[in-house]
């Protein structure tokens, strides 16, 4: 296919895609993440139960379906319910602000169990088994009594009946007051305490399988009084043998109803065939026991009620009601055909929820809430506005910069960037990609990637123009030479994005996905599209004037001895890293709640409140972990309101309780919170480290294949240098490290490699072109050629990051700060760490050692640049560099005789005719070489 025909096909495809993109942008909605539109996200971890000792994929799938049904009852539009890893479930509820209700409705296990109470209850004193003496007053005493029981688990039809496999409690050693529990694993008891470790002066007690401790039911609320009866009578604790007679699986058609005698809301239900038989059997047994105890005395129903045994209805470890089976009214038990009812101190809402849960079914596994976050709609909208402003501002700045520096070529690049932005926006809507804050950070960064592709090519074109090529030839050569570099660099970015997407957690995944998609789109727009545009405009007046291309003269002199000076930069890096080591050791990293676990709340209160008043209100709230809350005042636009950021170690399920407390005390205008449980924090940290190591390995492998193994090691050293430098700066300044910082660090990794690959690519390209030059000379020449590109790209990315720093929200700002450090360090390390290490290493190879010796013997020293070898030796102003250069082949189809531009700067760019016949010069050079040794 002819190049002209290909050009027009590319332009036609782009035109069609522009039209389709415009259509998609107008007609398709944008799917926003919870952090941008507001809502609640809950992350649960599945835990095994005796009935399900191992968590199988089927169990998680069934739990997902049940949660989906439950969420449907909340009336949430477009909930996002997904599985994370093997045993975690993420529930995204857009626009839901009542996190308390969401937590109650989504993850409650709803394990219903019916116990034959009297034969199973173990009283504190077996000799005194009267109803009044059955509960333990203290939980500790019940635990100690449970420890004396033999471990057991009864079975029914081959299925284990017990509801747990052993539980742990944490008590204050001095007062024996409960501090935490029950928990299935010891570590769960320590959350909320310092460093998530067992607090001093506490003891752990374990109860064996086969016994269960249940909180006594609340006394019935007398609707005729305003007094809350439950607050008058302290509830005790029952110790029962863990032998439930029926479970939630034995009932059907549960409905919320009203008790005809007390007018209290209750839940009525029917039994399954099996449940009906079991219910009749157990109630008959209970009635017979009462009858036996009455020893045949004729009692009225009221009198029999006092002597009848009862039936405990237990929901998720708490007794909700304990109805008696009156042996006078039901001597043969209760026929389950008419169903039964569960009465407790339910509100109508609670009774409706319970009925709904029982209808949908209990979760097959126990779900533990490990992370909960709520973003208010106001905060989400604000974050979206900030992100759009930062993105658009960044794009405009980059375009202005490209126009300023590259003039007409900059206009073409700007067109490419505009088309890129259009395509990317359309893809976001068509795929659809859920836009989150980290995702927008990735998107903004891809603008830098797209701009860099053009920078790499334009610098090549300018070099070709300066060397005397015609514009069409320069464009063709610029793209031909630049494309390999761009592909290498973009493949590295894609590898980083892929590894992040596969291994990292949700927030970072969004970032990685947009980075990956953006990189692919940018390859198309920045390479194919701009090439087609330039090919069409190649004969125009603008493109044939070097002035319009900013290629008239080299503005920046880069005859700098990079290799020679590198030792001083090495020393500077050493000092910075040692400072970082002191910071790591002395101050450590300030790990945020993402890794350390805990809760962060951002709230606006409608009254003027002082931090001390807020602290007191939180301490009095009775939420474990709130006593040590850090309260920080935040400036609010409305002076009558107070804004606060609160950080505390509370459990994810307790976090939603804070809002009602604040609302009652001060009135809440706006409330957002993020809670990370210890399990989730550990997982975040682990996945970040795995992603980092894996990225390094894959990228090293790629570099070793594309270049050679020796090129991979300096890249790794430069990477470790950059990560440690950025980490050291974070430790020194005390900046918080959170999941956005990890995303930024991983991007630094990608960026640093990207930059180093571009430098190394030029070295690789120059090695065969300079067959007699010392390696340090090749590196010096290569660096001077790519330095401008490195600085331009660095500057373009810094513009983007500055916009994020100025306009982005807190998450994006943290990201931008880490990136800013990383880009400075990445650019620096490519030039002053990676390349010198490669130089030192390659110079040890025999071939390069011989070359160096030869030059030293000839000239007495090794000049900075290869072309100086000849210039210095001839000393006659006649400049050819056969030692350094091979003749560059004539471009096929080119009608121009190539001539490199003389600069007059110590012969760094000696004039070099490319005509084939220069025997005199070659002869002279050979003679000189011979003379020199």
């Amino acid at each position: 296919m002819g190049s002209r025909r290909r050009t027009y096909i590319v332009l036609a495809v782009v035109a069609i895609l522009i039209a389709l993109s415009a259509l998609a942008i107008v007609n398709k909605p944008t799917r926003l993440g919870l952090d941008l539109q507001g809502g609640t996200e809950l992350v649960y971890q599945g835990r095994a139960t005796p009935a399900n000792p191992t968590i199988e994929p089927d169990d998680v799938d069934r739990a997902l379906n049940i949660i989906r049904d439950r969420v449907d009852t909340l009336g949430v539009a477009e909930p996002e319910i997904s599985r994370i890893g093997e045993d975690q479930i993420s529930v995204g509820l857009p626009e839901v602000q009542n996190a308390q209700q969401a937590v109650e409705q989504v993850g409650q296990t709803s394990q219903l169990a019916f116990y034959d109470f009297e034969p199973n209850v173990i009283p504190p004193d077996p000799k005194l088994n009267s109803p009044e003496s059955r509960p333990f007053n203290r939980l500790y005493d019940a635990v100690k009594a449970a420890q004396e029981q033999e471990p057991e688990c009864f079975e029914k039809n081959g299925e284990p009946l017990c509801t747990h496999e052993g539980q742990f409690y944490l008590f204050d050693e001095a007062t024996l007051e409960p501090l935490a529990g029950p928990a299935k694993v010891k570590e769960d008891l320590f959350f909320g305490f310092e460093d998530d470790k067992q607090p001093p002066g506490s003891i752990i007690e374990e109860i064996p399988q086969g016994s269960v401790i249940l909180r006594e039911e609340e006394p019935p609320d007398d609707l005729n009084t305003e007094v809350d009866e439950s607050s008058l009578t302290p509830q005790g604790w029952f110790l029962l043998r863990d032998r439930p007679e029926l479970t939630g699986d034995d009932i059907r058609n549960p409905e919320q109803a009203t008790d005809q005698f007390t007018n209290q809301p209750n839940v009525t239900f029917e039994f399954t065939d099996e449940g009906r038989k079991a219910f009749q059997e157990v109630t008959r047994r209970i009635a017979e026991r009462g009858l036996e105890r009455s020893a045949g005395a004729l009692l009225s129903a009221e009198e029999a009620a006092n002597a009848s045994d009862s039936f405990a209805v237990v929901l998720d470890g708490e007794i909700v009601s304990r109805p008696i089976i009156n042996f006078v009214e039901n001597p043969s038990g209760i026929d389950g055909r008419t169903g039964a009812q569960i009465s407790g101190n339910f509100t109508i809402q609670q009774a409706q929820d319970l009925a709904e849960f029982l209808r949908i079914g209990a979760l097959p596994i126990e779900l533990s809430l490990i992370s909960q976050s709520t973003v208010s709609a106001t905060l989400g909208q604000q974050a979206l506005d900030d992100a759009i402003l930062a993105g658009v501002g960044g794009l405009v700045l980059v375009i202005l910069f490209l126009l300023f520096y590259y003039r007409f070529l900059g206009a073409v690049a700007a067109l490419g960037l505009a088309v890129y932005a259009l395509f990317f926006l359309a893809m976001i809507k068509v795929i659809p990609i859920t836009l989150t804050l980290p995702g927008i950070a990735g998107l903004i960064l891809t603008i830098g990637v797209a701009a860099d592709s053009n920078v790499v090519i334009f610098e090549r074109i300018k070099e070709e123009v300066r060397s005397g090529r015609s514009m069409l030839s320069a464009i063709s050569q610029g793209y031909r030479k630049g494309i390999a570099t761009i592909i290498d660099a973009n493949v590295i970015t894609l590898i980083t994005a892929f590894v992040l997407f596969v291994l990292a957690t949700a927030g970072v995944k969004g970032f990685a996905f947009t980075l990956g998609i953006g990189t692919i789109v940018s390859l198309f727009t920045a390479v194919l599209f701009t090439q087609a545009v330039l090919a069409v405009l190649g004969r125009s007046h603008f493109l044939n004037s070097p002035r319009f291309l900013g290629a008239r003269e080299r503005r920046m002199r880069t005859d700098f001895d990079f290799s020679g000076m590198s030792r001083y930069f090495f020393a500077a890096s050493g000092i910075i890293l040692l400072t970082g080591a002191f910071a790591f050791a002395g101050k450590g990293l300030n790990l945020g709640i993402d890794f350390e676990s805990g809760t962060r709340i951002q709230t606006t209160l409608s009254k003027e409140v002082t931090p001390d008043e807020l602290r007191v209100a939180l301490s009095d709230a009775g939420i474990d972990g709130m006593e040590g809350a850090e309260v920080q005042e935040v400036q609010e636009e409305d002076a009558a309101q107070s804004g606060f950021q609160i950080q505390a170690k509370i459990l994810p399920e307790q976090a939603p309780d804070v809002k009602p407390i604040l609302d009652e005390a001060f009135g809440v205008e706006d409330f957002s919170n993020n809670t990370i449980g210890p399990t989730f924090g550990e997982q975040l940290a682990k996945s970040a480290v795995i992603a980092l190591i894996f990225s390094l390995l894959v990228i090293s492998g790629y570099v070793a294949i594309r270049f050679e193994a020796k090129y991979a090691i300096p890249i790794l050293i430069a990477l470790v240098h950059d990560i440690l430098l950025a980490g050291g700066a974070y430790a020194l300044m005390g900046f918080e490290v959170n999941s956005a910082t990890v995303a930024a660090f991983l991007t630094i990794l990608g960026y640093s490699i990207y930059d180093t690959v571009i430098v190394f690519d030029r070295i690789r390209e120059n090695v065969p072109r300079m067959p007699r030059a010392a390696f340090s000379q090749i590196v010096n020449r290569s660096m001077s050629e790519v330095l401008v590109r490195s600085l331009i790209t660095g500057l373009a990315t810094v513009f983007l990051l500055t916009m994020i720093l100025l306009f982005g929200d807190e998450t994006l700002r943290g990201f931008a700060l880490a990136m800013m450090l990383g880009i400075a360090s990445g650019t620096y390390s490519s030039i002053f760490i990676a390349a010198p290490v490669l130089t030192e290493w390659k110079e040890r190879e025999h071939a390069y050692r011989d070359r160096r010796r030869q030059i030293e013997e000839t000239m007495g020293y090794v000049p900075v640049f290869p072309e100086q070898n000849v210039v210095a030796r001839l000393g006659d102003g006649e400049s050819d560099d056969p030692i350094a250069h091979e003749p560059v082949p004539q471009e096929p189809g080119s009608d121009v005789e190539r001539t490199e531009e003389p600069t007059g700067d110590s012969g760094a760019y000696p004039s070099q005719s490319r005509t084939p016949s220069q025997p005199g010069r070659r002869k002279q050079t050979r003679r000189q070489r011979k003379k020199g040794g």
């Binding site: 590198s566 030792r567 090495f570 020393a571 890096s573 050493g574 000092i575 910075i576 890293l577 040692l578 970082g580 080591a581 002191f582 790591f584 050791a585 002395g586 450590g588 990293l589 090691i713 050293i717 470790v720 240098h721 440690l724 980490g727 050291g728 010198p836 290490v837 030192e840 290493w841 040890r844």
Partner: protein
């Protein structure tokens, strides 16, 4: 955290090896291996001997890695020097 400190000390000190004649076994990369492995080993031994946990660090933790870095670099340098001085057949 202490491992990070030890490694960073080793890497930081390695940067100064460019001021020494390059007789390290494996060159500058060999020196890097010597410095970081020595730093981590000596740091870990000293940390264990002091009875502190891996996560427990203070300014003195930096000092734990210094002897190992010096020893590691010296070992690699001596190894390289011996190889260079060895007569070649």
């Amino acid at each position: 955290m202490s491992l990070l400190v030890f490694f960073t000390v080793g890497l930081g000190l390695w940067h100064f090896t460019v001021f020494f004649p390059d007789r390290f076994w494996g060159g500058i990369v060999g020196a890097l291996v010597g410095a970081t492995v020595g730093a981590v080993l000596s740091g870990a031994i000293a940390q264990a001997a002091s009875g502190r946990s891996v996560g427990e660090t203070d300014i003195a933790t930096v000092a734990f890695a210094l002897p190992g870095t010096a020893l590691g670099l010296a070992a690699i340098w001596l190894l390289g020097a011996r190889r260079e001085d060895a007569p070649t057949n």
